[in-house]
Structures are given as C-alpha cells and as structure tokens.
C-alpha cells in the first residue's frame, strides 16, 4: 500500500505537468511532413510567434483523419483530397484549407529493369513495371501516398496483384527500407525520398507528370462535436500556416539543393 501511495501522486503529477504547460495543441500529420524535416523547421517558429506548442502525432493519412474523427487531435494536416472531403462531409471538421504541395516520384533500382525511365506518363511507368513483373513495394496502409498509388494503377488500367506486388502496410520510411532491401520500385513523396538516408541501390526513375501532384491541406477538427478541441489554437495555427512567414520558410526549405514543398495557400 505504501508503494501505491507514493506512486499515485507521481502519476497525477505527470498529468498536471502536461496540463499546466503553455498553450498546446495536438495535430496529426502525415509521415512525409515530419520525416522530411520540415516540421523541425516550422514548429519552433510557430511556438515563437504564436506561443502555441504544437504536439505532432506522426501517422498515415488514414489514421490521422481517424484521430481527428475521434476528437483526439485539434487539427489534421494530410494529403488525400477525396478522403478529406469525405471526412468533412461526415461533420468531423470545420473546413479544408490548402497549404502547400509537393510531388510524388517513382523510385526504382538504378538498373531500371522495367524501363520506367523512358515512360511518357506516370501511368505508363506503372504499366511498364507491371508488364515486367518487377518487384514493387506498396504502402498498403490507406495513407495518402497509398491512395495516390492506387489511382495511378487504375489510370494504367491494371489491378496489381501477384508475387511482384508487395503491400507492406507501413509508413513511408519503413516501406522505403523494404524497397531498398528488395531492390524494388516504389512510389514516394519527394520530400521523404530526398531526406531518406538508406537509399542503397535505389534511384529516382520517374518524375514530373502532373498526375503526381500532391496537395497538403489543413483541417481543423469540429469543436461542436468535441468541446475538448482547442479551436482557438487551431485557428491561430491556420493563420500562421497561411502567412508570408510560413511561405518563406516552406519555400525556402531545401535538402541537397532541392526545394521540397511549394507554398500555395490562398489568403482569405
């Protein structure tokens, strides 16, 4: 009993400490936003300018939206328009605000056994991979990148299945690790690819098709559904994310001399 008595206040002190800190809000974001390193640039500036400590939950788009739908975060930053609109229609959020975009790139073995490099369009590159039965790693986790991949397969008129198509059900980084191990093709967002440190024998084999455009949007969670949601902080954060300061930081963020994200928020 004595031990219990000493432990309980400790557990509550941990609780109180997290509640007493300066204003905090929780935002679920896709892996690409955090793994690319952009979050580490933006968060300290957000804290300095607005006094808000943004706590990030780094998950796939599917789980990010689910956390918002359950009221466990105050805002969501993801990249899958169809899923976002469905989420909004279900009354989970107040609105959708576009912030920035980057693009997807097709990564593959340097030897390019499927000849995807010479394709005209992204869907053609996918068709080449399927025809060659070259190993392809799919996120398979209902994330924004996974949804973009499935859209490309359907544009190519292919239902991917077979030994060569490996759905790993993991985040972007883990999937890239798998592709590096298997010397396989994979669809990645450019930001995660550039900052990824285990490229092994992989190279960028296809880029530049408008079909690979990847829009990120900010969605505040509906405070009417969950009174615990910190709507005021979510609003302040939105104002900051669409400000000129954010534009400068987002457009100015580079890895290996390449710009990763393009700010495209429209002033209200």
């Amino acid at each position: 009993m004595k031990l219990l008595k000493t432990l309980l206040p400790f557990a509550f002190a941990t609780l109180a400490a997290s509640a007493a800190a300066a204003e905090t809000m929780k935002m679920s974001v896709t892996t690409s936003f955090a793994n690319s390193g952009l979050a580490e640039v933006l968060l300290p500036e957000i804290e300095k300018d607005t006094g808000i400590t943004v706590e990030l939950l780094v998950v796939g788009t599917g789980q990010a939206l689910e956390l918002g739908a359950n009221g466990d975060v105050d805002a969501v930053l993801v990249h899958s328009r169809a899923a976002e609109e469905k989420w909004l229609a279900a009354g989970n959020g107040t609105h959708r605000r576009e912030i920035m975009y980057n693009d997807f790139v097709v990564i593959g073995p340097a030897s390019d056994p499927a000849g995807a490099r010479s394709a005209e369009k992204a869907a053609d590159a996918f068709a080449d991979i399927a025809n060659a039965q070259a190993a392809f790693v799919s996120r398979g986790d209902d994330s924004g990148t996974h949804k973009a991949e499935l859209k490309l397969w359907s544009a190519a008129g292919i239902e991917p299945s077979g030994d060569w198509y490996k759905a790993v059900g993991q985040g972007m980084g883990a999937a890239l690790n798998t592709a590096a191990g298997l010397d396989a093709y994979i669809l990645s967002d450019r930001a995660t690819w550039l900052s990824f440190e285990n490229k092994a024998g992989l190279e960028l084999v296809f880029e530049g098709d408008p079909a690979l455009f990847n829009q990120y949007a900010y969605l505040p969670v509906n405070a009417e559904k969950y009174p615990s949601v910190n709507a005021a902080a979510a609003e302040k954060l939105e104002a900051w994310l669409t400000s000129d300061k954010a534009k400068g930081l987002i457009d100015g963020y580079q890895i290996a001399g390449q710009q990763l994200f393009h700010f495209n928020a429209v002033a209200e």
Binding site: L3, A11, L15, S18, T31, L57, G71, E197, Y226
Partner: protein, 234 residues
C-alpha cells in the same frame, strides 16, 4: 556492420555528452516502465500467490487465461486502451490519451499476466514445502499469502523483472496510446521506430544500445540492492 560500429560510436558519444534529447527520452522510458512494473507487481504478485494456494472451481481456467494473456499482442492492447481513452470513448473525458499515464496503463495490462503467471509458478513450488507447516499453525489465507510472498521474494523479484523486461522493450502499444510526441511521450523504443523509418539506422541502433544498457543497469541495481545471488536459498 558499418551501421553497428557507427551506432555504437554514436551511442557512446551521446551518453558521454549527456545529449539532452537522449536524457529526456531515456528518463521517460525509465519512469513509464518502472511505474508500470510497480503497479503490475502490486496486482500480479498477490494474485499469483492467491491462485497458487487456493482451490476454487475455475482455478484451471484462470491459470489457462493468465498464461494465454502473456502472449497478448501489444498492438491489440494499445488499440484497446486507445478506444477506451479516446475522446469518443467511454473514458475520454479524463483526457489521458497521449500522456505518459496512458502508456503506463497499457503496459500494466501487458505485463500483469506475466508477473502473475511467473509468481504463481514460484509460489506453487514453495507452497508444496510450506503447506503442512502453515496449515498446522492455523494461518489464515491472507497470512499464508503474506508468508509465501515474503519467503519467496527473490523468485518474485524475477517475476517483476520479467515484466520490466517486456515493458522496457515494448513499442506497439505505447506508440498508439502515447503517440510518440516529441518532448511529451517519446521514449526510447518509439524513437527507435521513428529513426528506422527515416532510414537513420546508426542513430536507431545507438538508441537500441542505450536501451540495452539501461535494462542491464536496472537489473544489476536491483540484484545488488536486494543481495540476490548470495548464500541464501532464495
């Protein structure tokens, strides 16, 4: 091989310089896991002893369930605790999700069956030796449990340490209920998962070495503190 050597080097460098981020996540790992081990021991040790010395109808069933629960997948426990403490769940009003407290709760669920099950095995053997003596002394059931817990304390320590070992390396459940939030709920194991995802294998390995060192240090400290592995039988 290269990653392993640079990982070791990175681990040593960060430990020697007392890297503030490393100290923070290591400290949280230790707090969460020791907290969970203490609570799981408070529940699991008496429970294991009680089952060992009492004969009741559902005893075999309870033992079978306890043993099966040892293999409970942490992800399932994590999801269960998440659904419970989510704002849309029954205990959402407490606001415990994504806090160290939620991580402790998940780990208690994971390791209590282990602690109870190992305690049960140890106490059952001891009870075979003590049975006649305690019965002839007319000890009450609770007195029997107390006597057995005390005299079996070294074996029970092993039960608690087994629970600690499972908890300190656990990642599936605390990733879901803690959320791996930087400066709030990030611990060694979730940081390792994060760095692996970034392809940062040497840093991930470095954190892994720190985790192993931490587990060894805790085990050594407890063994020295309680003077096990010395002359006495238990």
């Amino acid at each position: 091989m290269n990653d392993i050597t640079s990982g070791l080097g990175e681990a040593v460098r960060r430990v020697v310089t007392l890297d503030p981020d490393l100290v923070e996540i290591t400290w949280l790992s230790l707090r969460v896991t020791l907290g969970a081990t203490a609570i799981a021991s408070l529940i699991g040790l008496p429970l294991g002893a009680w089952i060992a010395i009492n004969r009741f109808r559902a005893r075999r069933l309870v033992i079978a369930i306890l043993n099966s629960l040892m293999g409970l997948p942490p992800v399932v426990v994590g999801l269960f605790v998440y659904v419970l403490f989510s704002r849309s769940g029954p205990l959402g009003v407490l606001g415990l999700l994504f806090t160290p407290t939620a991580m402790v709760i998940a780990q208690v669920i994971i390791i209590t069956p282990i602690v109870a099950s190992i305690a049960h095995q140890a106490i059952r053997d001891l009870w075979a030796d003590y049975h006649d003596l305690l019965i002839s002394l007319h000890a009450s059931r609770w007195q029997r449990v107390q006597a057995l817990l005390w005299d079996g304390r070294r074996a029970l320590l092993t039960a608690s340490l087994a629970g600690f070992g499972r908890a300190i390396g656990e990642v599936g459940a605390i990733m879901i209920v803690g959320g791996n939030i930087d400066h709030a709920t990030r611990v060694l194991t979730t940081a390792i998962a994060l760095e692996t995802g970034k392809g940062n294998f040497d840093l991930a390995l470095a954190l892994g070495f720190v985790l192993i060192a931490l587990a060894v240090a805790v085990n050594l400290a407890i063994h020295f503190g309680t003077r096990t592995e010395r002359s006495s039988r238990w």
